[in-house]
Symmetry: C2
Subunit: 803 residues, 2 copies
């Protein structure tokens, strides 16, 4: 019997690099990432933005900062422990070299999303505006560019370039959505890509692809509609060629039409026998290429789509292409350490790969339309999607509020319609939560929910509507999730099946969105947490508790035949203005990865249940010191999807165990072993179905010494790459014993040539943070000599000089 | 001959405490200083401000900060080297206990000034708004309070108190004045007192007192007009008694009238023989008490006024009460270290006393209407006033802009009309400066200037109009100041007389506003600066240069018979957004006292020319180390108004000198004396006209060692009171010799339990500051152990531990 040994690394980013570069930058579209300047705050007029300004002169202030797009106002302050995050206007400016290759063509600025109210100017002319921070929109600047080119300043002040200014505004306003009562930041800025787009005088506007199949996948029906952007209403007949390729790249349909293109046109209506299906296991994508010839030039549009059939059975379960699929889902906010909403495409790819690698096949994009890049990734990775509009908490505003909600629903459906991954359009979240208005009218909310539900079906009858947590609206929409947080906001996790069953019984089409709980990364506790309930207020927010909560839910979900599926809240820790007092201030710590995508232990719990790629993970990689009595048998947990795992402690086998998902915890991979005082080596070896061996190993110190009250801080520095230094502070008692259960806040400060890498919203990236097992860490960037100081409550501060 | 020895201290605050508490807090008026909460940024609606909010709930964020009024948004950030100062909205909220003693009375909120656009709410009802950051205004909240008392929330949520919210907004806006091109911050916040005022159903509105006299003071004419606040138009006849007291408190007129009080009424028209005159030497004030009886209750108003006669002769000079007075003036902004515009009355008293003690008899309140407290102080101290509206730079906006200017002129004249100190109403400043608009139309500016001039005379024909620096408008107004900055922005200070003469010749009524230059406090240089010109760009910004510039001007002004007077720019260093690169970042350093009122050396130069109180001041109190060759004779300057001063160096008399204002520098009190290497004791003894002796003494080190390039930083800490520590950094060359002419920037940072007292806008209160003679200082507040780090350019940083 041949055995292959695979060592499973924590570094997950390196793998799965097969995805192609995903977004368009085609020849007629350029991402405008560089050459921007930014100012936080309002300007007195757009003239103030544009007027000539020499250094030292009054026109030169306020001072602008060079930035790269995407850019978010709140990259730092969203998780600064000391301030409210900035909500107000900000300006961006640049000067563009514009050279449209199309004769009589149009020049567009495309905003993939900007927060939250945006105005666009070419020189001092307002060319467009938009309200809504998550849907894409375009501005045609052709005439404004032409007019500006006729002015003297064009050459004189701007050397022929076209000055563009954008004012974004995320001011609080109860009359726009999302509400500021939402448990996430309402970010400001050009936090998604901005593109310069050239098109001929007639070009494609919206391409709507409908690809349907019966549940067996015998017959595919394909309909392609196109609308055109033809602002001058030209009636010339132009050739439009259509090419459709199957997932293997084989052409399955081709056609050329020639006619005037003024209105919505059905281009294709065909049947395909046994089309290649899009599935979560094998997400096969067709391609549609449309080419329009205009005056000897051409413009091409390329769309991907897929054939798939889904069904939410009443009372469950869920079927995809005729087969039951348990929806294994998570959630995603657009938020990242050091960037806030301004994620690059590269980071989005990493994040979605990490989600897929965990084994998820479903995601709820809470609580707003997300970047089209994410939807493309879901298409390619095989992740089903619930996407929603940000009508979230607070109540119901007036007419402009409702109009924004309708518009954002329309835009979401139209812009993301062609993605086969999407199955649910969300109308709202927690619409039973009052607060933004003096009154709260359930009937008005019901009426508007019905209106949105109807609008959604009118726009796209091939998907269902969904909401979470608004009992008095659950009869209106198609798929409903009540609020069930077993073991977190109510009761104990062991009550999950009962609570969930009640949900299934009380709901026509039940889905369980949002469950889980907060965990402070790197905080671990001894014990089995058998009797913990309502842990949000009464728990210790440890990883040790949360892995058990997740573990229990996952084991239960495996034996619920009617369950369509669930989505735990949430994949990644994220910033929220509502939680200034959290262990990492202003961070919702319910993620299974930290805000910088560092996996917590719970990531592997999900992987052990959901992923098919063999893995073994000993619980405790971020738990350097365990504690207990001498010779006490300590529980060791291994999360693995292998059929069998053998555990070794200090080189001695503790026996093999077989996986049994119903043998809680860790699906049977738990051992009770005495640890030796000092360092222990713990090794787990799993063998997969092909008899390859997968090994994980950690070293843990075992402490039997008891500790008293925190009495002193000790401090160490470890050099990292790139002149970074890792600082660790530990709380000790008067005898110098580590206080391993201390949760006291620790604060870092620095003087001299360097800076703390802070405001990251992570357990190791916040200058003020609750200690995890009596310790806290932070990184610093060293530029010369500096001194780090650490304080904690009333203990004497301690200092460390970094040379 | 009996001699009294008076040692003259730097501490000037302690003296002159005889001024009474000046502002009203009478029984029916309460300053609302305490119990406020503040938030920087906008709220989503006033409901968001008022709704119930429990800690930990979404309604509880954003977090409010408790503040005391007066309060300015920009107390810290105006001089933070790293940020643009905040310009945007901010909210204040409080809950008032309201108990109006008057039956059927009115409840008013009085704002003495708020920046820059303000809205006022009682609970969620908007009760008033105002645009303009410097004029006073009132809001009648009677009905809103009554209505709120009828609601359930009044008792339930607010326990019977009345919730009040105020939204201030200092957002940039080219359509409001002052322009953001102004060389001062357009501050935000409730930076002047807010008062709760109770009045009966009929009360006084505006009391207008006209007190005139001929230039000999033989006949006084007194006219008193009153308008009434009678919102319900009650026609009941009510008794109104009038009492007028002369400066000695003797009643000179009494009368009681009884009639309905609905419209403007002339209450008094009398003549007074030889009234006690208000003069800069003896500012005698009359008092007028008006008492209105309403339904058995009464309300009293008390106004002070004075009789005086002034005249600006064409081509000069200026006469007050028939005698030539040289106007010895300065300027004032509402700005102070650590507070920005939010000065307390106590600080205003200190500041105006310091100005009087310097010998000034004139002040231009540039560039806006200031607190009424300042005007009262000017009345009491005998300081003539030019007060102006903030039409300053940028051009001319549209109708709402102009309407604001008219309104602010009207309010300034009406609100400050009764102050005898006021002689000039300013229409604008530097209105020849374009920039806020795409166009700049001199004719439109002329037309609007004429309109304002006419409006001013229509409102108050007893004062003249004035502007500074707008040549194309100088024929429109009464008194004009061209721009003359001899030795600073153009030419050399020795050209002052010639430049000024040209101004007098080219102007009908000439006054010289704004002259002087920047000096970086504590920077001193050897040399006589004989050939310096255009020092703003080419000079060293030392105190040594600026004292000579001031000295020269003052000596010249003494022999200019046609000069009405001048006002140097400016008394106190102040914050400006236009000067991020200044030695103290963002500070206009043209003051003779620092932004915290610490006198620079130049303060004493003025005092030596202007003050009559005997004083002696050796130049160099903040110059610890002088330098030069061995046995070189060094110039020692003594500023004194004594007829004779004797100088002692290291105990040896260097001879007596007689004061001769035309013997530059220091009016003849200059000596050339060799100093010894190391410490020298320099003592000057002046004798005043009564033969009292006034002594000043300093110790100065003399350094003959030459220094090279800056190579290291040395650092010392000196404990002060209240757990503060004085930190001094010095730049030294490779041999450890002090680099006494270094101007390199020095930056302080701190880690641990303490904080730097920074963002003060002073030479010793900025974490980044240009060194003065190779040194820089800062204070810190110690709360435990901390470490201070200092860096300067590329030198190795240095650290000092503070236990």
């Amino acid at each position: 019997m041949k055995k292959t040994v695979i060592v499973f690394f924590v570094c997950l980013y390196c793998s799965l690099l097969s995805l192609q570069a995903i977004v368009v930058p085609s020849t007629n579209k350029t991402r405008l990432n560089d050459g921007w300047q930014y100012i936080r705050g309002d300007m007195g007029s757009v003239w103030e933005v544009m007027r000539p300004a020499q250094p030292g002169k009054p026109e030169f202030v306020p001072l602008w900062t060079p930035v790269t797009l995407p850019h978010c106002f709140n990259a730092e302050d969203a998780v600064d422990p000391d301030v409210n995050y900035y909500q107000g206007p900000g300006w961006y400016k640049t000067a563009l070299s514009i050279d449209n290759p199309y004769t009589n063509g149009r020049i567009l600025l495309e905003f993939e999303g900007a927060g939250q109210r945006t105005e666009v100017y070419v020189y001092t002319t307002k060319v467009g505006e938009h309200t809504g921070g998550y849907d894409g929109w375009k501005v045609d600047i052709t005439e404004a560019v032409e007019a500006f080119r006729q002015t003297e300043v064009c050459q004189k002040q701007f050397k022929g370039k076209i000055p563009v200014a954008v004012r974004c505004d995320n001011s609080r306003d109860t009359e726009i959505i999302p509400s500021d009562m939402s448990d996430f930041n309402v970010y400001g800025g050009l936090y998604r890509y901005v593109n310069l787009v050239y098109v001929p005088e007639i070009s494609f506007d919206r391409i709507r692809i409908e690809a349907h199949t019966d549940e067996k996948g015998k017959n595919g029906q394909l309909l392609i509609h196109t609308s055109f952007y033809n602002p001058e209403k030209k009636e010339t007949a132009l050739p439009l060629s259509i090419r459709i390729k199957d997932p293997q790249g084989k052409e399955v349909y081709t056609q050329t039409l020639s006619q005037p293109w003024l209105r919505d046109t059905e281009l294709v209506r065909i049947s395909l026998k046994k089309p290649g299906l899009w599935d979560v296991e094998n997400p096969q994508l067709y391609t549609c290429e449309l080419t329009l010839g205009v005056d000897g030039q051409s413009i091409q549009a390329k769309e991907q789509f897929g054939f798939r059939h889904f069904e939410f059975k009443e009372k469950g379960p869920f079927f995809l292409n005729g087969r039951r699929v348990l929806l294994k889902g998570t959630h995603r906010h657009e938020d990242h350490a050091g960037l806030a909403a301004a994620l690059t495409e590269e980071l989005m790819v990493q994040e979605m790969q990490l989600i897929k690698k965990m084994g998820a096949n479903f995601i709820r994009l809470g609580h707003y339309q997300q970047s089209d890049i994410i939807l493309r990734l879901c298409d390619q990775l095989g992740i089903l999607v619930w996407e929603e509009i940000p009508w979230c908490r607070g109540g119901l505003g007036g007419e402009s509020y409702k109009e924004q909600a309708r518009r954002m629903l329309t835009n979401m459906v139209e812009q993301h319609h062609n993605h086969p991954s999407v199955i649910l359009w969300g109308m709202g979240n927690e619409n039973d939560w009052p607060g933004d208005f003096n009154t709260f009218d359930q009937q008005a909310i019901r009426a508007f929910m019905k209106e949105l539900h109807d609008l959604s079906h009118q726009l796209d009858n091939s998907r269902l509507t969904a909401i979470r947590r608004c009992e008095f609206c659950k009869d209106i929409i198609d798929v409903y999730s009540p609020s069930i947080w077993a073991g977190w906001y109510s009761r104990a996790f062991r009550d999950y099946a009962e609570m969930s069953e009640k949900g299934i019984q009380g709901t026509t089409r039940f889905f369980h969105a949002e469950w889980g709980g907060d965990s402070h990364a790197r905080r671990h506790m001894e014990g089995d947490f058998a009797h913990v309930s309502n842990a949000a207020t009464k728990g210790d927010w440890s990883e040790s508790y949360i892995i058990r909560l997740f573990d229990w839910h996952l084991k239960e979900q495996e034996k619920m035949p009617l369950l369509t599926g669930s989505a735990f809240w949430t994949f990644k820790d994220f910033s929220t203005p509502l939680r200034p007092e959290n262990p990492v201030p202003y961070v919702n710590q319910k993620g299974v990865v930290e805000r910088d995508q560092t996996p917590k232990e719970s990531y592997y719990v999900f992987q052990s249940y959901w992923s098919k790629e063999p893995m073994v993970h000993i619980y405790g990689h971020t738990w350097p010191v365990r504690w207990g009595e001498k010779e006490e048998k300590k529980e060791i947990l291994v999360y693995s999807n292998c059929p069998e795992v053998e555990l070794f402690v200090n080189g001695v086998s503790q026996g093999k165990k077989k996986r049994d998902s119903q043998d809680f915890p860790a699906a049977g991979f738990h051992w009770y072993v005495p640890l030796i005082e000092g360092e222990n080596t713990i090794r787990a070896i799993g063998s997969d179905k092909k008899n390859s061996l997968i090994i994980d190993e950690i070293k843990q110190t075992y402490q039997t010494q008891k500790w008293g009250k925190e009495a002193e801080i000790s401090l160490t520095a470890t050099p990292l790459e790139n002149d970074q230094v890792w600082i660790q502070a530990e709380l000790k008692d008067a005898a110098g014993v580590r206080c391993l259960d201390s949760r006291q806040y620790i604060e870092f400060s620095l003087a001299g040539d360097g800076k703390l890498i802070q405001n990251q919203g992570t357990s190791t990236g916040s200058y003020r943070v609750q200690s995890y097992n009596g310790r806290a860490c932070i990184k610093l960037e060293r530029k010369g000599k500096c001194v780090v100081a650490v304080k904690s409550d009333k203990l004497p501060s301690i200092f460390l000089s970094i040379e």
